[in-house]
Symmetry: C2
Subunit: 350 residues, 2 copies
């Protein structure tokens, strides 16, 4: 009996549609002959849609997307400085709205230095860790405001909201993940300054740790964590951290593992109450859009995360292996977005 | 007529006293024969003092320190995990209290890759930038709290407070500094998420920029800034940013320029209403304290910033040159803290 998976695809802006096309190609190649049939719906969302209709993400959009089993997203965001987008905040109104409304409390961001990939570090060593970034709380909640805007007496506040409920569930996810990896967790926060939020993170990690005596736990302030990211990234296995610190650390992690052209991510609702969403960490890069210059590898690795999430481990592993094999043969010569996607898809047909 | 400068010295904890001893030695060597006489008072503050007396920074301490012309600080903070310090927050109660009470609104952190210094980047290029970190606002204000502490229903908030007054003054400082450097400013924030605080930063930078048409201005989200820090740090001249982002970026910057053993900083009150404070970026490193293993260079370079702040440019330059000359001759062999301090002091006597 074939199983049907309803997949919502949001190609988005800039290089989004180009990399998503390759990701879909690889998804088809990886699942051909399996008993899973993907029913795919494309959603036109992002800066282009906003400029056309004034809508960012309507209730109807959200409802339609939420009725799917999973989401694949390319990248959203218009040309920086585009005056017509001055009052749009595509990131908040679309990307973050999806993460929050679909309760994507685990923002999963693996970082691996694949053999042969050139990176900025002289002596990187083996890098293979996962950042488990909280996705629905912290300074991202949009709980801010200002008074006397535009005057010399303006005051703008931004409130980071953190709950035991929200932290415990993501910390538990991180410990479960560590059990299946090298059994090491690093909490990253800034407990000496953000004493209330940081103190709660530390207490909850300590409590969950006591149920996982086999997992080694340590703590780093976020500033110190950035140092280790460039001096000894091999020390990390699973990092668990808040929304903002996770945002910062994963871009840095992407850079040290060869660039965000390779960094994949999952916005996961582990409970399955809402569809999870998979997307490359990179943005829409409007400057190179439509030129077949974008590397679709991050989008393709996001497909591997999606397959894994859907319980299709074999297919997920095959995608990862095809990407690794492709990367191993890269010699610095330029290929188009399509050529890279084709090369990886061909390996899956073999 | 000799001029007297009242200097408050806070050696602090861990390696603090060791590196400060060398910094004072270099200060004496650099200013011998000048018409400035330093009247130095040592203040015993930090974890050790807290454990002895229960005091972190009393009103009397603060008043006494504020009566000085400048402050030199080593490092404060006890052994991590020391149960007796569980309820002390030396960082908030001492270091941040000094910065806030003495209105150190410019946290000045230069980053330079000195020739011959080994760093983690394969191809660093020339690195020479200054981070102007706001020092009295943002997420550091301590405006947080929690309810239902320790229960599954705990909520902890941390509010970042930002004012036009506070931002404008530090932005003006950054532009003035850029005028004396390579005339380039990069604002780092997270305007797409922290829209109220970020929006105000952006508007104030734009307004001040219009008075400095010769200064090139760009903007990076903090996550993207960490990428450039490892892939193209040469792109930066002056970075202006908020308290938390500046904390994170300057540790990373210290790492890419050869480690925080070299990173100096000034906590500056440019108006002169309060004494400015100079300190290495590194912490108290209790694990290597008392072993003559610490590199006093960051503390010594902090003396150069102090001299510059006091208007003693020649002496400041001589200290920097002595450090550069010392660094250029480092060959990886181990020297004690005192040996490094002595070597630099000797160059100044020559
Ligand atoms: C676009 C932006 C809102 C987003 C974030 O900050 O989470 C991005 O940087 C990311 O990491 O996915
Ligand atoms: C010790 C800590 C409070 C401090 C800070 O966060 O500012 C330190 O990291 C620094 O950068 O000087």
């Amino acid at each position: 009996m074939p199983r049907n998976v309803k997949l919502a695809v949001i190609p988005g802006d800039g290089i989004g549609p180009e990399v998503v096309a390759e990701a879909e190609k690889v998804l088809a190649a990886a699942t051909a002959g399996s008993d899973v049939v993907f029913d795919t719906t494309h959603f036109s969302l992002g800066a282009a849609r906003y400029l056309e209709t004034g809508d960012t993400l309507t209730d109807a959009d959200l409802e339609a997307i939420a009725a799917h089993d999973a989401i694949l997203l390319g990248a959203v965001g218009g040309v920086p400085g585009d005056a017509r987008l001055k009052d749009a905040n595509i990131e908040r109104g679309l990307l973050l709205k999806l993460r929050f409304e679909l309760d994507h409390y685990v923002n999963l961001r693996p970082s691996k230095l694949y053999p042969g990939v050139p990176g900025p570090l002289a002596d990187p060593g083996a890098i293979d860790f996962v950042v488990v970034r909280e996705g629905t709380e912290g300074p991202y909640v949009g709980n801010g405001g200002s008074i006397r805007r535009g005057t010399p007496h303006e005051v703008a506040n931004e409130t980071s909201v953190n709950t035991a409920y929200g932290i415990e569930r993501v910390v538990r996810y991180a410990f479960d993940l560590a059990e299946r990896r090298r059994e090491k967790i690093t909490l990253v926060h800034k407990t000496n300054v953000l004493v209330h939020a940081g103190g709660m993170w530390q207490r909850i990690v300590d409590a969950v740790a006591s149920e996982h005596p086999d997992v080694a736990v340590d703590y780093l302030h976020v500033d110190a964590a950035t140092i280790f990211m460039v001096t000894n990234p091999g020390r990390f296995d699973v990092i668990v951290t808040d929304n903002l610190f996770g945002d910062i650390l994963t871009d840095l992690a992407g850079a040290v593992t060869g660039g965000i052209g390779l960094a994949a991510s999952g916005n996961i609702n582990p409970d399955g109450a809402f569809p999870s969403m998979f997307e490359p960490v990179h943005g829409s890069a409007p400057d190179i859009a439509g030129q077949q210059k974008a590397d679709p590898t991050a989008a393709i690795l996001s497909v591997a995360l999606l397959l894994d999430h859907l319980g299709m481990q074999d297919e997920a592993d095959r995608v990862t292996q095809a990407v690794e094999a492709d990367i191993a043969e890269r010699d610095g010569s330029t290929r188009t977005t399509t050529q890279i996607g084709d090369a990886i898809a061909v390996r899956l047909q073999a």
